[in-house]
Symmetry: C2
Subunit: 788 residues, 2 copies
Amino acid sequence: MLAHILFGANTEVGKTIWSTALCYASHYLAHAPVEYIKPVGAGPVEEADYVHLAKFVPCKCTNIHQFEKAMSPHMSEGAMQTTDASIVSALRKHLQASSFKNTFVETAGGVSSPAPSGSLQCDLYRPLRLPVLLIGDSKLGGISTTIAAYEQLKVRGYDISAILMLRDPENAPQYENWKYFSEIWSKSYSCHDKENIKCFTIPSPPALSQDAEADFKAMQKYYSESASVGYDVLKHIEQVQKTRLARLDDMINQTEKHIWYPFTQHTLVNPKEIAVIDSAHGDMYTVFAPNAKRKSEEALADGSKKEGSVAVEENKYKELFDASASWWTQGLGHGDPYLAMSAAYAAGRYGHVLLPNCTNEPALGLAEDLLSTVGKGWANRVYYSDNGATGMEIALKMALKAARIQHQLSGKIEIIGLEGAYHGDTIGTMDACPPNVYNVEVDWYDGRGIWFDSPVVKVSNGEVSVQWEDKSFSFTALDDVYNVSSRVNSHLAKQYASFIGEKVRTAMQQGHQFGALVIEPLVVGAGGMLFVDPLFQRVLVDIAKGRLPESPWYTEAHENKKAGIPVVFDEVFIGLYRLGQLRSADILGVYPDVQVNAKLLTGGLVPLSVTLASEELFEYFLSDKKSDALLHGHSYTAHPVGCHVARQSLKRLDQLNRTAWTENKQRWLEFFGCQNVNGVLSSRNPNAWSVWDPEWVYEVSKLECVESIMALGSLASVVLKAGDHGYQSSAAGQYLSRLREFSTGAEEYGILARPLGNVVYFMTSQITPTHTVKEIQAKIIDVFSQPR
Amino acid sequence: MLAHILFGANTEVGKTIWSTALCYASHYLAHAPVEYIKPVGAGPVEEADYVHLAKFVPCKCTNIHQFEKAMSPHMSEGAMQTTDASIVSALRKHLQASSFKNTFVETAGGVSSPAPSGSLQCDLYRPLRLPVLLIGDSKLGGISTTIAAYEQLKVRGYDISAILMLRDPENAPQYENWKYFSEIWSKSYSCHDKENIKCFTIPSPPALSQDAEADFKAMQKYYSESASVGYDVLKHIEQVQKTRLARLDDMINQTEKHIWYPFTQHTLVNPKEIAVIDSAHGDMYTVFAPNAKRKSEEALADGSKKEGSVAVEENKYKELFDASASWWTQGLGHGDPYLAMSAAYAAGRYGHVLLPNCTNEPALGLAEDLLSTVGKGWANRVYYSDNGATGMEIALKMALKAARIQHQLSGKIEIIGLEGAYHGDTIGTMDACPPNVYNVEVDWYDGRGIWFDSPVVKVSNGEVSVQWEDKSFSFTALDDVYNVSSRVNSHLAKQYASFIGEKVRTAMQQGHQFGALVIEPLVVGAGGMLFVDPLFQRVLVDIAKGRLPESPWYTEAHENKKAGIPVVFDEVFIGLYRLGQLRSADILGVYPDVQVNAKLLTGGLVPLSVTLASEELFEYFLSDKKSDALLHGHSYTAHPVGCHVARQSLKRLDQLNRTAWTENKQRWLEFFGCQNVNGVLSSRNPNAWSVWDPEWVYEVSKLECVESIMALGSLASVVLKAGDHGYQSSAAGQYLSRLREFSTGAEEYGILARPLGNVVYFMTSQITPTHTVKEIQAKIIDVFSQPR
């Protein structure tokens, strides 16, 4: 089965003529069943493209939407009700059920003509990413419009199989644009499909008279004469498709030979479970799934199965929901054309340019944007690097040196951290973590700190509680757990303070010297997605900054920003709305001296990290000697592509946070945020909420195989009951395999989740539709309810 | 002075009409001197656009090239001789000398219509990056062509100030595309200039009769009636420009407040020397230079200075040659539209997608490409990470664990390295280097190895030599130094072997255990751009692999790939043709077990690093336990944008290496590659060559202030005589300031070089034109010849 989409470089360039010619060739020359689909048409039905086509080829013609006026569909009445998703969904189902050898989908107008919703044609159809036949523009200026259309398609990640053009009409100026595309362009620098792309031409159709019968005959003759070129096109696109499929078929094999996966024991990889990601859109991977079962044979168009020349093939492309948000990076969805264009703009304007002793708009602008949001109230400086690990290395270097000077330390300096902490995989950031499975086999690992076991927030068997060692503290309102300011004078806060104070004091008496408090606020991520009691972290910070009498650094001069030791927040994972908040400081009620952000920062496109620091810390590095500076850098420091994309991403994340994303807030308050479901609400602006349904969280927490669950923002984390806890646990395996099966909801997709031992987590993006969240929730309940 | 460039969404959309309307408004309403420039026109002179314009506005009209036929200029005779560079250079000089308040540059055809050379219009004019007025397409389909044109311009890094459109002619179908751009589009997701972009419209011009006099009057009336809209456009673009300049003026100030520069002692930064990089193209930064002197007042168009209403302003944009290749990343030039499109394609097709247990074409394809080139003969696996430092962390983890298992080591494992080594700024990679200025202030630094002082290759006072401690070995042929295979049995090789062997043996007797040899082949980079004698490194590798009797790991079973300890090549800087070779293995004649590449890998766009490894190393990590795997990863591991761009870059670098880039090879052989300049050549395929002229290298080596120089590939490194050697030396300061002055060659650009203490290095890309290399060479000689 071979479906192509026809885009036009402009309107009236011959999309319908070419569609007819191709269908004609398929039917009469290749004797291959063929379908023509016009998802959205404009103009009177009797003039519709498929009516023209049906006159000359006895093939199946399908029309999904027809708008009456011959104008851009977005201007027609009722257009706005026709959503992109509904068009794509209808077309996808139609194609999945089809068994025609060839299918041609004709778009409306040019590549960027608005769809009924106002989206551009090329954006509308992107989720299907069908191979493209680009109908080039033969008119004066058509070289320009054709290349422009081609580039727009490439920016959306389409592959173009061929350019199809009409030759100049006889007795008209001979612009010969087709010659440019046949002979020159595929060798030129601006062509990105040099290996594959071919240009095919047929003459312009004959001029029409007023004699319908004569016109029909002339056109019939025309199509008959063009059929051999049409046949050549069919052969070409078949070959391109064959090559493409052969490659996809071979990719698992080659990957097993050549790739060394991160975080992976290769002997435990099941080749059949390697996902061949052919493309991605929104939250979905489109995977090539040679072994996927075809489910909808009964939905086949009647009779199409009987045609002897076509074998019913399996549908090889399937969708997988990216439930790990591609290692926690995705917030705005895959394949976003706006972000792709932003990346291209910065690449086109700068490429990468040097930062030290220089400046540029993306780097400076992003710094300003961050300091006025994430760093508001405390940070004055942005230090750029490439990923969370390097950002944390910089943070450590900043903090340790500042503490060394401030407290006149010499010799070994350590940090205060948390059990289960993870700050990256460079050896320096590993040293800032307690011994664990990640670093035990690293030869130069040398953990440098003392580590606190964290009290953990969870929902277990329908109850909200904070678990601290063997003690459990119940809460009726989850929101209250995260209303830290109301808890700072609680008995538990006092207990935390004396516990922490004493452990630090004891260590110092034993000769330990501390240079920083380093924590992942709110959630200890790779260490098992533990939701740490925010009050505990608040008290840790207050101890580190000498604000509590229990602190070894206690001072009454609370306004002294240099008091105590520097506090480092690693918000690489949790920051920028992952947990429904811009930053943890607004929940904890305290500021750090250094903070690292990454992951969501660049909208899930390219690596970039920022280390924000206070001016007080910056000043420790000032002197008249170069060697006193922070001599740390990476070649692509503050690369404009990343910085510019980050600015656009932050704007959009903020926008989404203020609008669509938070529709669940009220439901969370109602369910988990008050004394009881029918009680009086304790707050109108919840500290804790999630896109996951609170009732679903409640339900999951009661499942037999589930120990506990917690959800904040886009994250839901489920701890499974398991004998062999920890990172090496295989408890989740069975469940994950079942989640992957392609049978979620009406759209038939699977869920690809990554385990962390016996913890299974699920992340949405900020653009995940509510109905998708509901579908996934239902599937999770279903899978987790089955026996293991 | 305000110059704009007018691009058309298509041909015949009204570029000339709008040009005339704008000039008319400037002249008659704003009373501001205005110039109209048509750099390349097509068609008979009497029908040329400027002839039309001159009829209605008494303003200066400039035409640079006119091709006779009314067709795409690339098809005209003689067109190919009209290079892009010559057009841009002529236009740049003209604009620099101009003092008109408003200038409008009209392009030919649509945004992508081919220029005389065959380049696209939008690529041709990109080096000037003038603000754009996009003339939208009012015809049916014009929404699509206008958005497509807009996106093409954005991909090239242009800023669009406004969209200008003609309204539909009366008595014709009213498509009202202008309404879309006036009312809908600037709020839509696909518009990237939401804040600034406005759409202006004027009516279509009146239909013309055959009566020239009547037509003239009708057009005059038309322009007169359109003048107020033209005036509004002038006000708008003036405002946009004002905002832009105000921001540029403020950027140094804001940068000083908010950015924490890498590798920079902020107290030593001179704000006046901060380069405000507004954009970049090829090897050039376009900087905003408020203090730059205007040199060419005498070249002003006659009389233009006298017009009272215009003050002669300084020309604020200047060019700076990027002589550090933006921290060694650039090989294909800034702002390459092909790479920008490649980045956009991968972003549009995937965004970022998960790697472990998955696969995708960019990640797998790049691995295959690398293994069949850089890794050919030895590597089987590619491990992805984000930058050289993380790539080296991975390399260290691979090598140390392999050695630990192989030699059953326990306790502290160290490496063998070089003095002056630099492998990145993470603490782990710092630990693989001897104590130095970079790591001395890092609290957790702990150098773990023994370090060899390297014999160094240099050209000093016209002589080629290898300097080893206090001994100097003269060579008449530089090429022979790099013909390592001919030297392996030399006396010096024996000396090296016994020296190295003894030092390692002694250390081992003292209890040191070694897990890897870690070197930067050929050039020790950040440590001072030292060109290490390749024979010394060859011997080091042979010792490490147990191939020489002097080695403590000596074994006669040379074919045993696991013999000795793993060898790690850090080719982050020197690899991928930076030194004129794909990889050092071909010069050294030995393979590593692990190699890291980065920097040039992604053509200077985004961070990405690869650690290549042999299958033997990979196998040390296999077991049935997850914890035995290499548990290292970064969120954006193998991000498709980087991988896809890298594939395109590698292809192009290889192509350039086989063609244009190597024209200097023969000259190097003749000068430095034989017994004497007039002697018989020793080789036809030089091991050592550079894009820098050998005679220039010779000349520089004789300058009074120069201690020595060396050049390979695109790198030339000059060691200055200086009292206070090392990284903290300020010897270079004076020279660097002079190099920055905007007065190099005919095109008036400065050179922005970064010092490494008393070492000044210069890098070209692979696309630097020969005349530019010559201009830079001349300026360097000039500056270095002046007293300090």
